[in-house]
């Protein structure tokens, strides 16, 4: 479980996050949604320590990340997996080397053990026999799957996904969403997904935080979202023609 409390962040005196609090549950896919520029990515980067929050706390299972020194933060980071928007695969490495990288850096496993783990992770994301390919030989969806395999290689307790569906076709998006949902339940991780994709919200939104203008505007799950009367969330959800039609049919 990750708890954030009153997170504030400004850049050049422009307030991006104005005090966001939320609880991200373990074993659930927790979604942060909102329009572009609402502060989703800044929030996720504050939670990961890529940005230092101006105020507030981030608690990883009661351990206050914001009050930790760099070596304590490093310990937490070994429990974190991250799927970046563009995959962020190391382009000088093969698929196998990418997934093996955290294992090589932080474990004393033998080469056989590491290859075994790589193959397990690749099998989990349905990419067997891609070990020797480089990132340039992979499609966008395959890159995301390799990035997901790398993110789960260390059996993380926390999984962060930054817009996992961006740049993917709807069918591949659903595959990625379902994979994230499956690994979350399988490994009992606290998964946090930053998205503005309504299909993802409806498919895998166990616990949803809606941010507008740097503030928490709404929270709930994928069942609540279509029945809410919050005008901001309605405006966000029904900005899609598809959902307008669903609502009309209802």
């Amino acid at each position: 479980m990750i708890t954030i409390h009153n997170i504030k962040k400004s850049f050049n005196e422009i307030e991006i996050l104005k005090g966001v609090s939320f609880v991200f549950n373990r074993g659930k896919t927790n979604l942060i949604i909102g329009q572009s520029g609402s502060g989703k990515t800044v929030l996720i980067k504050c939670m990961l320590g890529l940005f230092n929050a101006d105020e507030g706390n981030v608690l990883y299972d009661e351990r206050d990340f914001t009050k930790m020194n760099s070596s304590q933060k490093k310990h937490i980071r070994k429990e974190v997996g991250m799927l970046f928007q563009g995959g962020a695969l190391f382009d000088s490495m093969t698929v196998e080397e990418n997934i093996m990288f955290p294992l090589t850096m932080f474990t004393s496993q033998t080469m056989e053990e590491k290859i075994d783990r790589v193959n397990t992770c690749l099998k989990r994301v349905n990419l067997e026999n891609s070990n020797t390919k480089t990132s340039s030989e992979l499609s966008g969806g395959m890159q995301k799957r390799v990035a997901l395999a790398r993110a789960i290689a260390m059996n993380p307790k926390y999984l962060f996904c930054d817009e996992p569906n961006s740049g993917l076709d709807p069918r591949t998006s659903i595959i990625i969403d379902n994979l994230i949902k499956e690994v979350t339940e399988e490994y009992n991780m606290t998964t946090i997904i930053n998205t503005h994709d309504m299909n993802s919200v409806m498919e895998i939104g166990d616990n949803i935080l809606f941010i507008k203008n740097g503030l928490k505007e709404w929270e709930g799950n994928n069942k609540d979202i279509l029945s809410t009367d919050n005008p901001a969330i309605l405006d966000f959800v029904y900005s899609s023609n598809l959902f307008k039609k669903i609502r009309a049919n209802q």
């Binding site: 490093k74 980071r77 928007q85 962020a88 190391f90 955290p102 850096m105």
Partner: protein, 234 residues
């Protein structure tokens, strides 16, 4: 930033592999261009020296002596460093800049890897270790190029050239050249990495960072060259 570079590497076997990779990438892969430039510049220096001291009062061995000192004191350490700043500096800055743009550096940080140490220290060690070898090759080939040009064009005999090369030889000149070489290698690695790490997002910015790396490296090398010369030779 430098404080973060000189921390203990996360994993020494990975660090060793990266150093070997960078020695190959920056050092071995530069031997060709360094050899080619050194042979021809050595030849040009010799021909120009011969033309300017074309007087019956001046002994022919001066051609070899002047060519040797020009190559050892200035051409090999400084000019080759500027060429390497263009070749290696732009490579390092664009590589790290692209890694930053594509969130690969964030990925390292999220995993708990210190990206500055992981990316910069192996490059710095490889450059400082291998640059003196490149400069030694440049010195030797520069003199050979000069000898070839001098003898083949009939400006001096082989014996006269070699007499000049061995005459009044000061070992300190070579030491001075290697001190400069190590400092220039440090400048190329650090300035280029710095430019890469502080690239703003976007392809244009990566190009700009690469250009800035070459320009700043060249400027620092020239200034440092003057300071070293004042401190060590003046």
């Amino acid at each position: 930033m430098l404080r973060k570079v000189f921390t203990r590497p996360e994993n020494f076997s990975v660090f060793r592999k990266l150093v070997i990779h960078d020695i190959y990438d920056f050092g071995i892969n530069s031997v060709g261009i360094v050899s080619f430039m050194s042979l021809f510049v050595g030849a040009v220096v010799t021909v120009q020296t011969a033309v300017y001291i074309d007087s019956p009062l001046l002994p022919k061995y001066l051609i070899g002596l002047v060519a040797r000192d020009s190559i050892i004191l200035e051409f090999a350490p400084t000019m080759i460093a500027i060429i390497l700043a263009g070749k290696i500096g732009s490579n390092i800055a664009s590589n790290i800049g692209t890694m930053k743009t594509t969130e690969q550096i964030d990925a390292l940080r999220v995993m708990g890897v210190n990206p500055i140490n992981y990316l910069m220290l192996p490059k710095l060690v490889a450059m400082v270790f291998f640059n003196p070898f490149l400069i030694a090759i440049s010195m030797i080939l520069g003199v050979i190029g000069g000898w070839g040009a001098g003898v083949s064009s009939g400006l001096c005999s082989s014996a006269e050239f070699m007499e000049g090369v061995t005459m009044y030889f000061s070992a300190f000149n070579v030491t001075y050249a290697f001190i400069k070489t190590i400092l220039f290698a440090f400048v190329i690695a650090t300035v280029s990495c710095f430019q890469g790490f502080y690239t703003k997002v976007g392809a244009i910015e990566v190009g700009r960072a690469s250009t800035r790396a070459v320009v700043y490296c060249s400027v620092f090398i020239i200034i440092l060259n003057y300071i070293c010369t004042q401190l060590l030779l003046a």
